[in-house]
Amino acid sequence: MTSSNRIIIKETLSENLALRDLASSFFDKIEKNQAKQVVIDFKGIKSISRSFAQEYLSRKAKSKKSISEANIPENVEKMFEIINEQETRTPIIDLKSVKVICI
Protein backbone atom coordinates (compact mmCIF):
# COMPACT_ATOMS: atom_id res chain seq x y z
CA MET A 1 0.00 0.00 0.00
CA THR A 2 1.35 3.43 -0.83
CA SER A 3 1.47 6.19 1.73
CA SER A 4 -1.05 8.16 -0.32
CA ASN A 5 -3.69 5.61 0.72
CA ARG A 6 -3.29 6.59 4.36
CA ILE A 7 -5.46 9.52 5.36
CA ILE A 8 -4.76 11.30 8.61
CA ILE A 9 -8.27 12.33 9.52
CA LYS A 10 -7.16 15.05 11.91
CA GLU A 11 -5.40 16.84 9.05
CA THR A 12 -8.37 16.51 6.73
CA LEU A 13 -11.03 17.50 9.28
CA SER A 14 -10.21 18.36 12.87
CA GLU A 15 -9.02 16.79 16.10
CA ASN A 16 -12.69 16.87 17.16
CA LEU A 17 -14.94 14.78 14.94
CA ALA A 18 -18.25 16.45 15.58
CA LEU A 19 -20.75 16.81 12.76
CA ARG A 20 -22.46 14.09 10.76
CA ASP A 21 -22.21 16.01 7.51
CA LEU A 22 -18.46 16.26 7.91
CA ALA A 23 -18.24 12.48 8.11
CA SER A 24 -20.36 12.29 5.00
CA SER A 25 -18.28 14.76 3.00
CA PHE A 26 -15.12 13.02 4.23
CA PHE A 27 -16.37 9.78 2.71
CA ASP A 28 -17.38 11.55 -0.49
CA LYS A 29 -13.70 12.44 -0.89
CA ILE A 30 -12.59 8.89 -0.13
CA GLU A 31 -14.96 7.52 -2.75
CA LYS A 32 -13.47 9.85 -5.36
CA ASN A 33 -9.99 8.56 -4.53
CA GLN A 34 -8.72 5.95 -7.01
CA ALA A 35 -7.22 3.73 -4.31
CA LYS A 36 -9.09 0.52 -3.52
CA GLN A 37 -7.55 0.21 -0.08
CA VAL A 38 -7.58 3.11 2.32
CA VAL A 39 -6.28 3.42 5.88
CA ILE A 40 -7.87 6.09 8.06
CA ASP A 41 -5.37 7.21 10.66
CA PHE A 42 -7.03 8.52 13.84
CA LYS A 43 -3.78 9.75 15.39
CA GLY A 44 -4.34 12.91 17.45
CA ILE A 45 -8.13 12.71 17.56
CA LYS A 46 -9.47 14.15 20.81
CA SER A 47 -13.22 13.57 20.56
CA ILE A 48 -15.91 12.01 18.42
CA SER A 49 -19.66 12.49 18.53
CA ARG A 50 -22.08 9.61 18.22
CA SER A 51 -23.50 11.21 15.07
CA PHE A 52 -20.10 11.40 13.40
CA ALA A 53 -19.24 7.85 14.40
CA GLN A 54 -22.57 6.47 13.19
CA GLU A 55 -22.24 8.18 9.81
CA TYR A 56 -18.61 7.03 9.51
CA LEU A 57 -19.49 3.39 10.14
CA SER A 58 -22.57 3.54 7.94
CA ARG A 59 -20.64 4.96 4.98
CA LYS A 60 -17.78 2.55 5.56
CA ALA A 61 -20.19 -0.40 5.43
CA LYS A 62 -21.64 0.82 2.14
CA SER A 63 -18.28 1.52 0.51
CA LYS A 64 -16.81 -0.90 -2.03
CA LYS A 65 -13.32 0.08 -0.96
CA SER A 66 -11.35 -1.76 1.70
CA ILE A 67 -11.25 0.73 4.53
CA SER A 68 -9.38 0.11 7.76
CA GLU A 69 -8.37 2.20 10.73
CA ALA A 70 -5.09 2.88 12.50
CA ASN A 71 -4.17 4.55 15.79
CA ILE A 72 -7.75 4.61 17.07
CA PRO A 73 -7.90 6.31 20.48
CA GLU A 74 -9.80 4.55 23.25
CA ASN A 75 -12.73 7.01 23.21
CA VAL A 76 -13.23 6.57 19.47
CA GLU A 77 -13.02 2.80 19.84
CA LYS A 78 -15.68 2.86 22.57
CA MET A 79 -18.00 4.97 20.45
CA PHE A 80 -17.62 2.60 17.51
CA GLU A 81 -18.37 -0.33 19.83
CA ILE A 82 -21.56 1.31 21.11
CA ILE A 83 -22.82 1.74 17.58
CA ASN A 84 -21.79 -1.70 16.40
CA GLU A 85 -23.33 -3.37 19.43
CA GLN A 86 -26.49 -1.29 19.31
CA GLU A 87 -29.14 -3.06 21.32
CA THR A 88 -32.86 -2.46 21.54
CA ARG A 89 -33.62 1.17 22.10
CA THR A 90 -34.60 1.98 25.68
CA PRO A 91 -36.92 4.97 26.15
CA ILE A 92 -35.18 7.73 28.12
CA ILE A 93 -38.39 9.25 29.46
CA ASP A 94 -41.09 7.25 31.20
CA LEU A 95 -44.12 8.94 29.68
CA LYS A 96 -46.32 7.89 32.60
CA SER A 97 -44.24 9.91 35.06
CA VAL A 98 -44.27 13.13 33.05
CA LYS A 99 -46.03 16.10 34.65
CA VAL A 100 -48.00 18.11 32.10
CA ILE A 101 -48.53 21.80 32.85
CA CYS A 102 -50.41 24.36 30.76
CA ILE A 103 -49.05 27.89 30.74
Binding site: L13, S14, N16, A18, L19, R20, D21, L22, S25, K46, S47, I48, S49, R50, S51, F52, Q54, S58, N75, K78, M79, I82, Q86, E87, R89, T90, P91, I92, I93, L95, S97, V98, K99, V100, I101, C102, I103
Partner: protein, 269 residues
Protein backbone atom coordinates in the same frame (compact mmCIF):
# COMPACT_ATOMS: atom_id res chain seq x y z
CA UNK B 1 -39.43 23.87 44.28
CA UNK B 2 -43.21 24.05 44.77
CA UNK B 3 -45.62 22.72 42.18
CA UNK B 4 -46.48 26.21 41.00
CA UNK B 5 -42.94 27.49 40.60
CA UNK B 6 -41.37 27.25 37.20
CA UNK B 7 -37.74 26.31 36.67
CA UNK B 8 -35.43 29.29 36.41
CA UNK B 9 -34.68 28.68 32.74
CA UNK B 10 -38.37 28.56 31.85
CA UNK B 11 -39.00 31.81 33.73
CA UNK B 12 -36.24 33.39 31.70
CA UNK B 13 -37.80 32.19 28.48
CA UNK B 14 -41.17 33.62 29.57
CA UNK B 15 -39.42 36.93 30.28
CA UNK B 16 -38.27 36.95 26.67
CA UNK B 17 -41.81 36.19 25.44
CA UNK B 18 -43.31 39.03 27.45
CA UNK B 19 -40.73 41.52 26.19
CA UNK B 20 -41.19 40.31 22.61
CA UNK B 21 -44.98 40.53 22.79
CA UNK B 22 -44.87 44.00 24.29
CA UNK B 23 -42.42 45.14 21.60
CA UNK B 24 -44.56 43.78 18.79
CA UNK B 25 -47.59 45.57 20.18
CA UNK B 26 -45.94 48.91 20.94
CA UNK B 27 -43.25 48.86 18.21
CA UNK B 28 -40.68 49.52 20.93
CA UNK B 29 -38.51 47.11 22.87
CA UNK B 30 -38.14 48.95 26.13
CA UNK B 31 -35.43 47.48 28.35
CA UNK B 32 -34.93 50.61 30.49
CA UNK B 33 -35.88 48.86 33.70
CA UNK B 34 -34.13 45.60 32.89
CA UNK B 35 -31.29 44.73 35.21
CA UNK B 36 -30.00 41.38 33.95
CA UNK B 37 -30.66 38.60 31.47
CA UNK B 38 -29.62 35.00 31.40
CA UNK B 39 -28.80 33.50 27.99
CA UNK B 40 -32.17 31.70 27.89
CA UNK B 41 -33.82 35.12 27.60
CA UNK B 42 -31.01 37.03 25.95
CA UNK B 43 -30.34 34.68 23.05
CA UNK B 44 -33.87 34.72 21.58
CA UNK B 45 -34.12 38.41 22.49
CA UNK B 46 -30.90 39.14 20.61
CA UNK B 47 -32.20 37.23 17.60
CA UNK B 48 -35.45 39.21 17.84
CA UNK B 49 -33.57 42.53 17.98
CA UNK B 50 -31.46 41.61 14.97
CA UNK B 51 -34.48 40.61 12.93
CA UNK B 52 -36.52 43.66 13.83
CA UNK B 53 -33.95 46.44 13.98
CA UNK B 54 -35.74 48.46 11.31
CA UNK B 55 -39.25 47.80 12.54
CA UNK B 56 -38.97 48.15 16.30
CA UNK B 57 -37.32 50.91 18.31
CA UNK B 58 -34.80 49.59 20.81
CA UNK B 59 -34.57 51.37 24.16
CA UNK B 60 -31.50 50.03 26.02
CA UNK B 61 -31.34 49.42 29.78
CA UNK B 62 -30.80 52.53 31.91
CA UNK B 63 -28.00 50.73 33.74
CA UNK B 64 -25.00 51.42 31.51
CA UNK B 65 -23.22 48.20 32.45
CA UNK B 66 -26.22 46.12 31.43
CA UNK B 67 -26.69 48.17 28.25
CA UNK B 68 -23.03 47.65 27.32
CA UNK B 69 -23.24 43.94 28.05
CA UNK B 70 -26.30 43.51 25.85
CA UNK B 71 -24.81 45.48 22.98
CA UNK B 72 -21.64 43.40 23.18
CA UNK B 73 -23.51 40.12 23.37
CA UNK B 74 -25.89 40.81 20.52
CA UNK B 75 -23.23 42.44 18.37
CA UNK B 76 -21.94 39.22 16.81
CA UNK B 77 -18.47 40.06 18.07
CA UNK B 78 -15.68 37.55 18.07
CA UNK B 79 -14.30 36.37 21.38
CA UNK B 80 -11.03 38.25 21.56
CA UNK B 81 -10.09 37.76 25.17
CA UNK B 82 -9.91 34.49 27.01
CA UNK B 83 -10.78 36.40 30.20
CA UNK B 84 -14.34 37.03 29.08
CA UNK B 85 -17.02 35.15 30.92
CA UNK B 86 -19.31 34.86 27.95
CA UNK B 87 -19.55 33.79 24.36
CA UNK B 88 -21.56 36.45 22.55
CA UNK B 89 -24.35 35.50 20.22
CA UNK B 90 -22.65 33.75 17.32
CA UNK B 91 -24.45 32.70 14.15
CA UNK B 92 -24.15 29.11 13.05
CA UNK B 93 -22.94 29.03 9.46
CA UNK B 94 -25.40 27.72 6.87
CA UNK B 95 -25.31 24.04 6.05
CA UNK B 96 -23.36 24.67 2.87
CA UNK B 97 -20.28 25.70 4.81
CA UNK B 98 -19.87 23.08 7.47
CA UNK B 99 -16.16 23.70 7.77
CA UNK B 100 -17.08 27.05 9.27
CA UNK B 101 -19.23 25.17 11.77
CA UNK B 102 -16.12 23.29 12.84
CA UNK B 103 -14.45 26.62 13.59
CA UNK B 104 -17.45 27.70 15.65
CA UNK B 105 -17.26 24.50 17.68
CA UNK B 106 -13.56 25.04 18.27
CA UNK B 107 -14.41 28.52 19.56
CA UNK B 108 -16.94 27.10 22.03
CA UNK B 109 -14.51 24.37 23.13
CA UNK B 110 -11.66 26.83 23.61
CA UNK B 111 -13.82 29.26 25.57
CA UNK B 112 -14.69 26.48 28.01
CA UNK B 113 -11.08 25.30 28.30
CA UNK B 114 -12.05 22.22 26.30
CA UNK B 115 -14.64 21.32 28.91
CA UNK B 116 -12.07 20.22 31.49
CA UNK B 117 -14.18 21.61 34.35
CA UNK B 118 -17.48 20.46 32.80
CA UNK B 119 -17.21 16.70 33.05
CA UNK B 120 -14.01 16.45 31.05
CA UNK B 121 -12.99 17.07 27.47
CA UNK B 122 -14.63 13.97 26.05
CA UNK B 123 -18.00 14.59 27.70
CA UNK B 124 -18.18 18.29 27.03
CA UNK B 125 -17.20 18.05 23.38
CA UNK B 126 -19.60 15.18 22.85
CA UNK B 127 -22.51 17.15 24.31
CA UNK B 128 -21.90 20.33 22.37
CA UNK B 129 -21.19 18.49 19.13
CA UNK B 130 -24.42 16.52 19.30
CA UNK B 131 -26.54 19.59 20.02
CA UNK B 132 -25.07 21.52 17.09
CA UNK B 133 -25.37 18.49 14.82
CA UNK B 134 -29.05 18.13 15.73
CA UNK B 135 -29.69 21.68 14.56
CA UNK B 136 -28.05 20.97 11.21
CA UNK B 137 -29.78 17.65 10.74
CA UNK B 138 -33.34 18.58 11.57
CA UNK B 139 -34.16 22.27 11.91
CA UNK B 140 -33.88 23.66 8.36
CA UNK B 141 -32.99 26.97 9.94
CA UNK B 142 -32.60 30.34 8.31
CA UNK B 143 -30.83 31.66 11.38
CA UNK B 144 -29.29 29.71 14.23
CA UNK B 145 -27.27 31.01 17.13
CA UNK B 146 -25.27 29.94 20.16
CA UNK B 147 -24.47 31.91 23.30
CA UNK B 148 -22.91 31.02 26.65
CA UNK B 149 -22.29 32.72 29.96
CA UNK B 150 -20.25 31.56 32.94
CA UNK B 151 -21.37 32.54 36.42
CA UNK B 152 -18.22 32.18 38.43
CA UNK B 153 -19.73 32.98 41.83
CA UNK B 154 -22.79 30.80 41.26
CA UNK B 155 -20.57 28.05 39.87
CA UNK B 156 -22.53 27.19 36.78
CA UNK B 157 -22.53 28.04 33.12
CA UNK B 158 -25.50 28.38 30.83
CA UNK B 159 -25.22 27.63 27.13
CA UNK B 160 -28.10 28.11 24.72
CA UNK B 161 -28.81 27.19 21.14
CA UNK B 162 -31.62 28.80 19.20
CA UNK B 163 -32.75 28.16 15.65
CA UNK B 164 -35.67 29.69 13.75
CA UNK B 165 -36.36 26.49 11.86
CA UNK B 166 -39.34 24.19 11.44
CA UNK B 167 -39.50 23.03 15.11
CA UNK B 168 -39.32 19.44 16.31
CA UNK B 169 -42.98 18.72 15.58
CA UNK B 170 -42.54 20.35 12.15
CA UNK B 171 -39.64 18.02 11.39
CA UNK B 172 -41.78 14.99 12.30
CA UNK B 173 -44.76 16.36 10.34
CA UNK B 174 -42.69 16.48 7.15
CA UNK B 175 -42.45 12.69 7.41
CA UNK B 176 -46.13 12.26 8.21
CA UNK B 177 -45.59 11.85 11.95
CA UNK B 178 -48.08 14.19 13.58
CA UNK B 179 -47.59 15.26 17.19
CA UNK B 180 -48.39 18.27 19.32
CA UNK B 181 -45.28 20.39 19.95
CA UNK B 182 -44.84 19.23 23.53
CA UNK B 183 -45.30 15.55 22.71
CA UNK B 184 -42.88 15.84 19.79
CA UNK B 185 -40.12 16.88 22.21
CA UNK B 186 -40.62 13.70 24.26
CA UNK B 187 -40.77 11.55 21.13
CA UNK B 188 -37.47 13.00 19.95
CA UNK B 189 -35.88 12.38 23.36
CA UNK B 190 -37.16 8.81 23.35
CA UNK B 191 -35.52 8.13 20.02
CA UNK B 192 -38.18 8.50 17.36
CA UNK B 193 -36.35 9.59 14.22
CA UNK B 194 -37.40 10.93 10.85
CA UNK B 195 -34.30 9.31 9.38
CA UNK B 196 -34.58 5.60 10.11
CA UNK B 197 -34.02 3.15 12.94
CA UNK B 198 -30.25 3.68 13.07
CA UNK B 199 -30.82 7.31 13.93
CA UNK B 200 -32.50 9.16 16.81
CA UNK B 201 -30.09 8.34 19.62
CA UNK B 202 -28.50 11.79 19.88
CA UNK B 203 -30.90 13.91 21.89
CA UNK B 204 -31.83 11.21 24.39
CA UNK B 205 -28.24 10.18 25.03
CA UNK B 206 -27.33 13.83 25.36
CA UNK B 207 -30.04 14.37 27.92
CA UNK B 208 -28.80 11.44 30.00
CA UNK B 209 -25.24 12.72 30.04
CA UNK B 210 -26.38 16.26 30.85
CA UNK B 211 -28.83 15.45 33.62
CA UNK B 212 -27.45 12.22 35.12
CA UNK B 213 -23.76 12.49 34.34
CA UNK B 214 -22.87 16.10 35.06
CA UNK B 215 -25.62 16.67 36.51
CA UNK B 216 -27.09 19.66 34.73
CA UNK B 217 -30.51 20.94 33.78
CA UNK B 218 -31.98 21.17 30.32
CA UNK B 219 -34.89 23.17 28.93
CA UNK B 220 -36.18 22.55 25.42
CA UNK B 221 -38.72 24.93 23.89
CA UNK B 222 -40.09 24.22 20.44
CA UNK B 223 -43.16 25.87 18.95
CA UNK B 224 -45.84 25.74 21.63
CA UNK B 225 -44.18 23.01 23.64
CA UNK B 226 -41.51 23.01 26.32
CA UNK B 227 -39.90 20.38 28.51
CA UNK B 228 -37.62 20.65 31.51
CA UNK B 229 -35.30 17.90 32.62
CA UNK B 230 -33.34 17.56 35.85
CA UNK B 231 -31.87 14.49 37.52
CA UNK B 232 -34.09 12.83 40.12
CA UNK B 233 -37.06 15.01 39.23
CA UNK B 234 -39.99 14.01 37.03
CA UNK B 235 -39.90 15.47 33.56
CA UNK B 236 -42.05 18.57 33.29
CA UNK B 237 -43.87 19.07 30.04
CA UNK B 238 -45.36 22.47 29.28
CA UNK B 239 -48.13 23.23 26.82
CA UNK B 240 -47.72 26.88 25.95
CA UNK B 241 -50.35 29.44 25.03
CA UNK B 242 -50.04 31.28 21.73
CA UNK B 243 -48.37 34.22 23.45
CA UNK B 244 -45.47 31.97 24.49
CA UNK B 245 -45.04 30.32 21.12
CA UNK B 246 -41.48 30.23 19.80
CA UNK B 247 -40.86 30.16 16.09
CA UNK B 248 -38.14 27.57 16.15
CA UNK B 249 -36.37 25.66 18.88
CA UNK B 250 -34.42 26.80 21.92
CA UNK B 251 -32.24 24.48 23.97
CA UNK B 252 -30.87 25.83 27.21
CA UNK B 253 -28.45 23.89 29.37
CA UNK B 254 -27.07 24.71 32.78
CA UNK B 255 -23.96 22.86 33.79
CA UNK B 256 -22.45 23.17 37.25
CA UNK B 257 -18.69 23.44 37.54
CA UNK B 258 -16.27 22.15 38.42
CA UNK B 259 -17.56 18.65 37.60
CA UNK B 260 -15.23 15.66 37.71
CA UNK B 261 -14.71 13.61 34.58
CA UNK B 262 -17.84 11.83 33.35
CA UNK B 263 -17.67 8.50 31.56
CA UNK B 264 -20.16 9.22 28.79
CA UNK B 265 -20.23 5.59 27.67
CA UNK B 266 -22.31 4.77 30.77
CA UNK B 267 -25.10 6.87 29.28
CA UNK B 268 -24.92 6.62 25.50
CA UNK B 269 -27.13 4.13 23.68
Amino acid sequence: MSELEFPNQLNNFLTFCNLRNSAVESKALDLQLSSWFYPTALLPLGAFIRENRKKIKYVPPANQNVANYISLVIGDLKVESECKTYIPIISLPPKSSENESGKLLECVFKFHNNGKEYGGENAFKYLISELVDNIYQHSEFRNAFVMAQKYEKKRFMEICFFDDGITISGSFAKKGMIFEDSEAILQAINGLSTKGSERGFGLGSNLKVFTQGLPGEMLIVSGKGAAFFKANEPTKLYILQDKYKLKGTLISVRIPYPVKEVDIYDFIQ
